[in-house]
């Protein structure tokens, strides 16, 4: 047992003290947070330039509706000479909005003249202002006709104001009758992120085990080692040591990303910032990117459960694949020979990955159900399903199957490994490898 501890600690320490590992582990959370928040932050940066827009309103209905904002000031001139104004364009004037007639009668009687292409948020804000006024005018006109009663008009007004804003809020019916608010979008994103994460970690760390085994075989240290320790200790030491490196990285990333997210969120949702965001007006607020709402739904995800199962599935999936990878590494002498054995494993992993991805659309369908039970695909597919909620018996069965089969693959791996590491020369066939298991 002492020997095993010594091996594990060497495998672990030699990897976590590598410069490349430390750098990647520290930088990734910042990179990840930046990737999400920087575009958002950039969009909220204030444009300090003030732009003046002259409104020439021949009808007189619309000009008072335009309220200046931080970036745009509307200057209302009555019946001005348009050519005078045109000469100011590009100097102190940004644009000219000319309304020549009553828009409720002639909707085309408005022109926007600017030297540069005007930003979308300005145009849409002008359009919105005008169309609101026009609807009001039309309703007003309607109320003056004899056969409509004013109450109906009021109701229609109300419908227009409130009726078009519907968003489906999905609720989940819990076993105990509790109803919790869920968001399918958030669940899909969370499921997707964890699927990619577990796939990447199993692949990267599994391949690391294979590299380590091949490295030992190539450098011919195996025989020196197994003259003092059991081969199976070397195998366990490697898998556990490297697995712990993976968990270290995961936990560190989890904590760091958590802290950075909370920090960034606090920064973006404080009142001052929020005020500035409102001032931007335009696209962000109206297109419905509501970061507070999004965060609220992120909080509804059963994080504890997901992270708990992520670790469970990572450990199970990693040990299973790592022991298969270690077997391959022990059976061959060089990188090229791994291909023949790696291809089926990679295909299986890819299948699991795609099965996971397609399960996002139907997290309770047969693909998702079987995918999350079969041990080879279950660590990946189950990650997709967890945020949507999975019955306990399915989770238990899937975990039991996974852990049962990793015990099986580990035993097989140990049997092949102890023979394989001492075999040099010709690449063995699958048949020969199976025979190795019978060696005493």
């Amino acid at each position: 047992m002492d020997a095993l501890k010594i091996i594990i600690s060497r495998e672990y320490i030699s990897r976590v003290t590598k410069k490349s590992f430390i750098l990647l582990t520290i930088l990734m959370p910042f990179l990840f947070t930046a990737l999400i928040f920087v575009p958002y932050w950039l969009s909220t940066i204030q444009d300090s330039e003030e732009r003046k827009i002259v409104v020439i309103d021949n009808s007189g209905f619309y000009a008072p509706e335009f309220k200046s904002t931080e970036n745009y000031t509307f200057e209302i001139v009555g019946d001005a000479n348009i050519s005078d104004q045109q000469s100011r364009l590009g100097k102190d004037l940004y644009a000219i909005l000319q309304i020549t007639d009553d828009l409720s009668k002639d909707p085309k009687a408005v022109t926007f003249l600017s030297e540069k292409q005007a930003p979308l948020d300005l145009l849409s804000s002008i359009e919105r202002t005008l169309s609101e006024k026009v609807s009001e005018q039309k309703l007003e006109a309607l109320s003056h006709s004899d056969n409509v009663d004013s109450k109906t008009i009021d109701q229609v007004k109300q419908i227009i104001e409130s009726g078009s804003r519907i968003s489906l809020s999905t609720m989940k019916w819990g076993k105990g009758g509790s109803i919790s608010e869920t968001s399918t979008v958030v669940a899909s994103i969370v499921g997707g992120v964890f699927t990619v994460l577990i796939y990447m970690f199993i692949m990267i760390y599994g391949a690391m085990v294979m590299q380590a085994v091949m490295e030992e075989k190539r450098s011919r240290i195996v025989e020196v080692m197994i003259s003092s320790v059991k081969p199976v200790y070397m195998l366990i030491g490697k898998i556990v040591g490297i697995g712990l490196v993976g968990i270290t990285q995961l936990v560190f990333w989890g904590i760091m990303i958590g802290i950075l997210f909370i920090g960034a969120t606090a920064f973006f949702t404080n009142p001052e910032q929020a005020g500035q965001m409102a001032a931007v007006g335009g696209s962000m607020a109206t297109e419905g990117f509501d970061i507070e709402g999004a965060l609220a739904s992120i909080m509804t995800v059963n994080w504890f459960e997901i992270i708990f199962f992520f670790l469970i599935y990572f450990i199970g999936g990693f040990i299973m694949f790592a022991s298969i990878f270690a077997t391959i590494g022990s059976a061959v002498d060089n990188e090229e020979d791994t291909q023949q054995f790696m291809t089926p494993i990679t295909l299986l992993m890819l299948f699991a990955f795609y099965a996971g991805f397609y399960s996002i659309n139907n997290p309770d369908g047969p693909l998702a159900f079987w995918g999350s039970l079969i041990p080879i695909t279950s660590p990946i597919v189950m990650m997709v399903r967890l945020p949507f909620g999975v019955p306990l018996w399915e989770k238990l069965l899937s975990v039991v199957l996974l852990y049962g089969s990793f015990i099986l693959t580990s035993i097989m791996a140990a049997k092949i490994y102890r023979v394989g590491i001492l075999m040099y020369g010709k690449k063995p066939s699958i048949k020969e490898i199976i025979k190795w298991m019978k060696y005493k």
Binding site: R218, E223, V224, S227, K440
Partner: protein, 300 residues
């Protein structure tokens, strides 16, 4: 008293029988040569003695008792296929291997320092293994083999890759270990070192032990009745003797002659025959070298 004994050890690899009822007896405190052509089964036998693999049948006794797992700490094994972790520091590497042999951290550190000083590689303690020359790595491996003060040492081709200076250093260390009472099994193709170092040998050919015994005894058994004479004459003429002369080198003051003695002739008769004609300065029966014994046995 035999320190290591294998009894009818059999090891089968699918179609190939690597060891067929191999029994060897290694006397305590001796240097025992394990010889044989490539692929004869030497390495497999060593792996069974070091418990790396298990025999299909037969048993291995260490100091009279069946070999057990704990016994591997009494064995120091330098395999033919040997290497080190390239990215590890030399000192850490030696410490790691020592600790895997069951040594405590302090004890390991003490011994590593002692041996590094002795082999003059202390300056390399914090360098990476990949920066070392092959000979330097071999020294580290040799140290790792003997660091835990084992009673049984097994060296598989220990001299390959060493320059003559280091080969001599290792030979001297092996003789010192022998003087301390350690038992040494030496597997090598270098027959000169077998003659210089080994007390007894076993020759394995095609999975079986074909020769076993002390070096002198084996050479004696394989002698060909060849005698060397240094005769004080410069005009040697075989006609007078009527013997089979194998070689004849004339110098100014003497002649060296190698003759084969007819089987029925006593060797006092041979000397008499010579003395009658020439003055003898030296006389010696020629024993075959281990190399000759080896080749003769293997090609039979």
């Amino acid at each position: 008293m035999h320190y290591v004994e294998t009894k009818d050890v059999v090891k089968q690899f699918s179609q190939h029988r690597a060891l067929n009822k191999v029994s060897i007896r290694v006397p305590k405190g001796a240097v025992f040569g394990l010889l044989g052509p490539n692929g004869a089964g030497k390495t497999t036998l060593i792996r069974i003695i070091t418990r790396i693999t298990a025999p299909d049948s037969g048993e291995v006794l260490l100091d009279g008792k069946p070999l057990e797992r704990e016994d591997i700490y009494k064995i120091g094994y330098l395999p033919e296929e040997r290497g080190l972790y390239k990215k590890m520091k030399v000192g850490d590497q030696a410490m790691y291997l020592a600790r895997l042999k069951g040594m405590s951290r302090d004890h390991a550190h003490q011994e590593v320092s002692k041996w590094f000083k002795k082999f003059d590689i202390m300056d390399w303690y914090n360098r990476k293994v990949e920066e070392l020359s092959k000979g330097m790595q071999q020294k580290v491996q040799f140290i790792s083999t003997i660091i835990h003060n084992p009673d049984l040492l097994i060296f598989d081709e220990p001299f390959s890759g060493f320059d003559p200076v280091n080969t001599e250093l290792i030979k001297q260390e092996m003789l010192k270990l022998k003087a301390e009472g350690k038992t040494i099994i030496l597997s090598t193709h270098n027959m000169e070192s077998v003659e210089a170092l080994c007390d007894e040998i076993a020759l394995i050919n095609k999975s079986e032990v074909v020769l076993q015994g002390s070096v002198y005894q084996l050479r004696n058994e394989h002698k060909k009745d060849i005698y060397k004479f240094r005769l004080l004459t410069n005009s040697f003429d075989n006609e007078l003797l009527n013997l089979q002369v194998l070689s004849n080198e004339q110098y100014n003051e003497f002649t060296d002659v190698r003759v084969k003695k007819p089987e029925e002739m006593e060797h006092s008769q041979l000397i008499k025959l010579m003395l009658d004609k020439y003055k003898i300065a030296a006389f010696e029966e020629e024993l075959p070298t281990m190399n000759e014994v080896f080749i003769e046995t293997v090609t039979e």
